[in-house]
Symmetry: D3
Subunit: 160 residues, 6 copies
């Protein structure tokens, strides 16, 4: 399979924070931001692999700042790295107070996805070709993270 | 007030068609597409005016092709023209079948928005400065549409 | 196919404006009102044609007044006119402040729908028979709008 | 306070059954039908009392037949009876298979509502005046049900 | 079929009251509470019967106290009694103000469910075996309610 | 402030997978599971601290198995550890195929929450007292994870 450039599957997603995304504090739930991150990443993974995908894992995620009703959340997702049957997608979420016009970083995440064949089984994914310097840096950082994930999966104590 | 370039308020929005957006035919409702168009346009209008905005009107809209569950809808919105207290925003929606990788135009719309002051009254909006050739063409086309809208509003028979 | 009277497919729909229909201003999004208009019209079109339907177009729509959380929106939809494979449905939306008991017109729209056969292709629709004076007036106005739509579709510049 | 005729607060509500209203069987949840019944009744109670209202109780409710995705549910609600600070509202729900054009009764319910003053306390409600024979019959039946409810509330074993 | 203990199908469900569950008074709709009761009961009925289920009826339900945005609703559901093809499930809903830490009873309900075979027809359900004193009391109370329901169904005047 | 036992804030939450939680594959989105995990954890954190809370971070999360429409997800959340102004909550999610009656582990997560004072600032949280052996083990494991999180936060390269 021929490699596909990172830019061909990159996703820009814009969400408006509505009352239904919040608790009584008027700030968006962490879980709502995670849902948007998952959808942005899933669209990039589908575009890269031309296959249905499922989320396999998400790395640790810090919520840097709260986001309020009426604000806008901008999400950018791109495929960082492809191993045989899984892809790492990086997502950066920024919030924007549309009245003050200020934008700030609220969360970043790395997710891995698996592409499924017609029987619902994981299948080989075409390679990704990083082209810009930032894409090349993310490619090698993702490769390093993949090693850490495989190590940690084999040593981790099960939760709860 | 200083003019603001079109590109500073342009919006790219990506939506995934979910089962909850469809009727029993598995294709997205026209009304769902209209909702996404309204939100993309409202975000652009808010960014341009740095004020809360309300939708004043939407021009005629044709649905060129159906969109199915699992597909992606890409929306691009930008402020075409500003009169004293209203803005025209143009939105183009394209659908993408992520498995076949094909993209096609599904709908385009022109909406007008009003920006509100602290008492909820319409207020003056900063001018918009078109910079590219496409932006300049849209600016003059929007000016022409505004004249037609004002005419048609004064002659139109009330509905139903 | 025998003609069906307008009254047999007319729809009355009532919606309560909830916090999830609004932005931070507490007034309902334009896109939410458009969604309700589309659903009311689609039900009328389905009732008339006894077939699944899809929205083909919506004419220009002005939002005459804002609607707030806790208010009620009343929608009335009826089939105005049937050409060979498309129907025009007119919808009138009125809002009601249930505490003050006042009702006022907020928007009106004309939508066209296509009925689908078992292969998802447009099919011939039974004629509609207007019976009251208002129904007859709407029938001939809809016929005139259809001509304008066909003209405008052939001369219109594509959006965005 | 002057009595208000039943017809002035009567509600007609139409809902389309969407995939998000169903479980995996494709039929609408009982709880979704109950929600629509509650909203139709609450709008009638608000219209009658010109006050915010809260649901105090709902009588026994049988689901006579299932309703499927793509079908339409028609709800009619009207105020049957007013005691000093509570109203009984009757709701009848019918389903319609839009392709076959058949309509059948799916559920009926009696709900009681309380109207609230500006401090959130129950307040006196204007009387209702039944005008047609059916309205008069419902008025006296509702009076009888009210007696039974007051009796049963004083003797009932608490649930679970 | 072997009887199954009540405890094996008992359900504990916790819901957070969000802005989208409320009207403009900030208290949850009666219909939202009814939906949660229906889902908790349906899960218990499915667990007991190992079959898809549909709600057949819900007994009278009083809303004892309002519930506000940010509060938590705890629902406990268990199968009280099984007749040949229907189950009675009892649900108790308590609300919790998480800041004050107070919990209070808001509603209780008895629902009946039918289990469906592969053709969508009602089928025989395995018996339930009550084990604790509370379970035994609920079993015999449910048996008594079933008799009343069958009587009342044969004498009741149809609603609206 | 007096310590509070783990069991007093533990949460059991049950969710039914509906069509609106899924993509076109009929399996629930990763983001939907993450949302439920966030809500279950937030309720436990609120119960422990008797204060409004916000999600500060979530540790790495693996999705062990897919979950389908009609299945039930059981979530259990408890406060593992409290440092001065943050709490770690552990959540375990199990899925249940209600027809086959099988239950299996689908995901586990550790989240940290901050409690807010009346000015929206982080405030001191009462200690937690683990009582069972499992609670004591989770307490010391959480203490170790907290150290790792603080280290990793100071060395991590920013995403995307």
């Amino acid at each position: 399979m021929e490699a596909k450039p990172v830019s061909e599957s990159a996703v820009t997603m814009t969400e408006l924070v509505l009352p239904s995304h919040t608790n009584s504090l008027q700030s968006a739930f962490g879980g709502v931001i995670m849902s948007w991150i998952d959808i942005a990443a899933a669209i990039a993974a589908q575009r890269h692999s031309s296959r249905p995908v499922v989320t396999a894992s998400i790395d640790a995620l810090n919520f840097i700042a709260p986001v309020y009703v009426g604000w806008v959340v901008n999400l950018r997702a791109s495929v960082n790295f492809v191993s045989k049957t899984s892809m790492e997608v990086g997502v950066r979420a920024d919030a924007e107070n549309p009245i003050e016009g200020k934008t700030f970083h609220i969360a970043s995440a790395y997710l891995t996805f698996v592409a499924l064949d017609n029987y619902g089984k994981p299948m080989a994914i075409r390679p990704v070709s990083p082209e810009t310097d930032a894409e090349k840096r993310r490619f090698s950082e993702a490769q390093a993270r993949r090693k850490l994930r495989l190590q940690s999966r084999s040593t981790k104590t099960r939760a709860t």
